[in-house]
Symmetry: C4
Subunit: 358 residues, 4 copies
């Protein structure tokens, strides 16, 4: 199709031109000075690849196994609230796209359509994302809903226990869209503090949850448990110790706390400490080379958040498929040019020139 | 209150738009090329946080103990000359704001109102800042005044023994405002050199003062002694050796000597050498994450200089309260998102990616 | 000659003003975000020279021995496709220039004139560049052609086994020029993927070729074998192990895979692992100091790609001679000012301040 | 005097506005891409000072001993050609200024006035700069002239054995001014190569001179010998071995070879290897802090080149005095604020955050 966007940056520009300013700011923005937002992306560009020649690989196989499930791509769709802000079909479109492309959609607790309806929208594998709510029965209710509707894993977001300070939203007096089950126009919960933009249901999330809650969660479900928001070796080790099945290295896309470490910088220490816990990376992925770098540094797969909205705004489910297709093509090109036939062949020696950490 | 500034940078912009150019330049400017001025601020942005998850903290307690005094916030107001340049109420307003917010105001030797009057303006804890004057009796006089008026500590500024070269002021032919007790329109003391802007009473300050003077100062007062302007491990060790109660890591806001090390860079070595001496950091604090980083690297609390003027220029005492409230809120958000319930839980492991020093 | 370009950047600007936009983009551009393209050049500027005084050298000898052949300059012309895009005389002009300047032209598999004709155009030494084609008989055919026409070595390009993503070309719907033996206007082979710009004959190149193919290639020719595209110590060691005669450290001018390491950064580890294999550096050379730095870090000589097109566009063979003459003069100046009389006197101690790799 | 320039940058701007473009370019420019020119200056800004408090110093003594001669300032005037390009009085003005300020003028081999006349212009200490000419008798002649006219040392410039490539001058078709003894309008010697701007008498300079010539030079004069252009530890050690009295760390102001190491970066290793040889630093000094940093890293004093022209262009000898006075004042301020009473108290511990070299 002539004139189609050829990379994720072009998709982003289309989305910026399509969405109302306040919705664009909500999708694109981050916490306070947006330093982490910027660095989480740009630091990838400073990591260098060391491609190998004459590897004897006629083609590349991009498939990976995630929580025992075989998927065709080493990237998945992150849990993000209210897909409707980018396209009327919202999560229904995203689910169709993920299934068509052969990967997993993680459905957010704050979805625009009912998770039961999303589950029925397409056949592909899906995860359901929830929180440790102050009222743990709400968590149990959501877990059981997920089980009953065929979700394949429970993803618990850990790094959203307090209202973030997103200054674009404050300046826009941003009102979040109602999520599934809320009345249209429902006012957002009162901000916890006047300077924060408490625009999601965070006030129901329990900042007092602790590692002791893992055993409790395990006791109420047999689904695999995925923790999202781990960014240190210490917490990775605690995941392993408490029997979490997988973790997502994430700084919430730079949206919650500014100047936190970028995810690709945190990845090596997290992966080293995670033991048998599967590790995925979220944040900053825009190019196939980014995917390959994350895998080289210890991720089993990566997750995409904002690019999903860009695809939705471009052309609904077909737009998301297009976005995934661009990335698939770039990963394949990178693997072929680096002499790596399979994802598991991609190792630390493919990388050099890492930023220094102390 | 709708339309209120939501961060310290917005307050700064309001102040710039409000003050006469020469007063703005005096507040905002620094020595010669302003390299230290810039770096003291920007280097904070390159230090990364490593937030911890599932810390099980229902809320955050921001209070600290400073010289045995319990205060509600981990930041205080630095001694700065002539608050009247930003608001008619000058230090009276600052004192009311500090008391209302539950923190300490350090009153400058060059205050616009008499320190006796400032002491009566509000109930909160206060420090009085002075110098080792060439005429030590002047120092004794000021110390006794402070004792008699209920000041809680004597802060001695060490890094202002010579006229600084502040080129904005030289170009403006800046005349400092008369301080309390001076006749209106009093001409500033003659500059020691024609290229310097000797606009304060520095010529009365003794560059010949030495560590031997600490014992002398201790002999004339029972108040705690706080030394301001320490920036090296060597001088921190000398503070400990000579029984100073507390020190402030400060480069005078980049105002006195250019290309000195930034305060957050100097902090780790100073804190390590300081032993039992309490350590506070001054300079460059604009965000709650900055406060938390300084504490992680060894400060017991931090001090705010220019932001106080911004608050005064915005709305007098209410403006300073607003400034402190913004910062309080950002520190709380940072602590909650990093999993730190109390200030003393914030340690070195919360930080990574420090600039390299040799 | 007054008004002549005095450095390679001026030649580049002339070329940009001369070529049609799509041809300029083809010559100047690189893969995706062009990060490697930029860094491969700019990183030279951060490497510092340590010139030696009183070295007692009346003049400098720039000649080197390459594969046993004595040439007058420590730089050669890289194999690049279709010189006709810059000048009607194409490779015939380049061959004349190389011979006149006393260096080697490497003729590309995708040349505008028949390699037999180019061989006859001038007397100087020449290499022929080819691939491991899927149909190995094509490779044999090309090797035999090269032998029969007096080429002095076979250069095999290894890092072009897959269509690169060159976004300038995609946006231009770039159609490559027909190469020698193709009908005019011949459509390029179908792109392997819709996002790539498969504008050369790469689809005939075998990504399944492996190190086992070296012995096979050796069995079909007695010409020296030069491998182009080595960028890691591992592959350099494999070159040595398999008896390759020489290798070219190259990232294909940043044209094939983005964010690969720059060539001068890779050079030290490659040179160390290469043993008796001769090492040349390709990519980013614009100044005589760049040549000297590459030699100091282990290269026997360097290769020039884009500057050859700039010279061609400026004045055909005379333009290329002019380009080579500028560089010769700059290398001589650098050697004289560094106290190095001969190329082999240039060693690692002439260099400091290398970018850090891990 | 109101409205006088308050720093060296303002003097520079005045000079730029005063000189004809081609003379300005000659003074301000450097070799090829001017990377060394820029870095030699800017790298100072990244080095941080660690000022000490309560040092008990009533005042600062800026005097130093240079080759056994006591001078009032830790900076001298570098040998630079043709001062007339900035002021009609040329070196006569510079000599008067140096004497008035109490420092040394090094007179260039390419001076606008006869060195005999310059020697009589003022009473202060002076050095004469010369070369190892191809015709060593010319060197002997100059050395004897220097001795007979009371010059205090012979400075031999080592890093100018070949015509530099200064592209501003090439583009300007710059013709250097005739030096003393040449006929007005005398054409410059033919450039050695067409791309270089061989605008001084360099073609008479012998690139074949070697360390063996030191003993010869010593045999023809009893004056102290100062070598200018040393930038490596190896050559510093050779200076010590051959009994040179002093050396100047210099990259010829970035004018001769580009991308050489900056002088302040080279200084530590040179100073360490120099043993009893006195070390001075040339290049990039614009602020009093720069002077202090150079001394902290091992220089006994520093030398000023371009700023001398700025002072001359501003107001002849009085302009140079003004320039020296600004710098004197800044050095004094730096010493007082760093707690250093004498130049010899300034040591390595005053410095941190050096750029990394390998």
């Amino acid at each position: 199709m002539a004139g189609e966007p050829i990379n994720l940056y072009e998709l982003e520009a289309i989305c910026e031109g399509t969405l109302p300013q306040n919705e664009w700011d909500y999708v694109a923005g981050g916490a306070t000075d947006e330093i982490t937002l910027e660095r989480t992306r740009s630091v990838f560009d400073h990591i260098a690849l060391r491609p190998r020649m004459l590897a004897g690989i006629p083609d590349a196989d991009l498939s990976v196994s995630v929580l025992g499930q075989h998927i065709g791509l080493p990237f998945m769709l992150s849990p993000c609230g209210s897909h409707k802000r980018a396209h009327e079909d919202g999560e229904l479109a995203s689910a169709r796209a993920a299934a068509a492309a052969g990967t997993i959609l993680a459905v957010s607790a704050n979805c625009s359509y009912a998770p039961e309806e999303i589950a029925r929208a397409a056949d592909g594998p899906k995860w359901y994302q929830t929180y440790f709510y102050r009222d743990r029965e709400q968590t149990v209710d959501r877990v059981h809903m997920a089980e009953e509707n065929g979700y394949d894993a429970i993803c618990v977001t850990l790094d959203a226990v307090w209202p973030p300070k997103r200054e674009r939203n404050i300046r826009n007096s941003y009102q979040r869209l109602p999520t599934a089950g809320e009345a249209p126009g429902l006012a957002p919960p009162k901000d916890l503090t006047k300077f924060n933009s408490g625009i999601s249901s965070r006030s129901r999330v329990d900042p007092g949850a602790s590692w002791d809650d893992v055993a409790w969660l395990r006791s109420v479900t047999n689904l695999p448990i995925v923790f999202k928001g781990i960014i240190t070796r210490e917490d990775a080790a605690l995941c392993a110790e408490h029997g979490v099945d997988a973790l997502i290295v994430s700084n919430h896309g730079g949206r919650n706390l500014d100047t936190t470490i970028s995810t690709i910088e945190a990845l090596p220490e997290v992966a080293e400490a995670a033991g048998d816990v599967e590790v995925y990376l979220d944040g900053g992925i825009r190019r196939g080379t980014d995917v390959v770098k994350a895998i080289a540094l210890g991720a089993k797969a990566v997750m995409l958040g904002r690019p999903m909205f860009w695809g939705l705004a471009y052309a609904g489910d077909q737009g998301v498929v297009h976005m995934l297709d661009i990335l698939r093509d770039e990963v394949e090109t990178t693997m072929m040019m680096c002499g790596k036939a399979r994802i598991e062949d991609i190792g630390r020696d493919l990388i050099t020139r890492l930023p220094e950490l102390r």
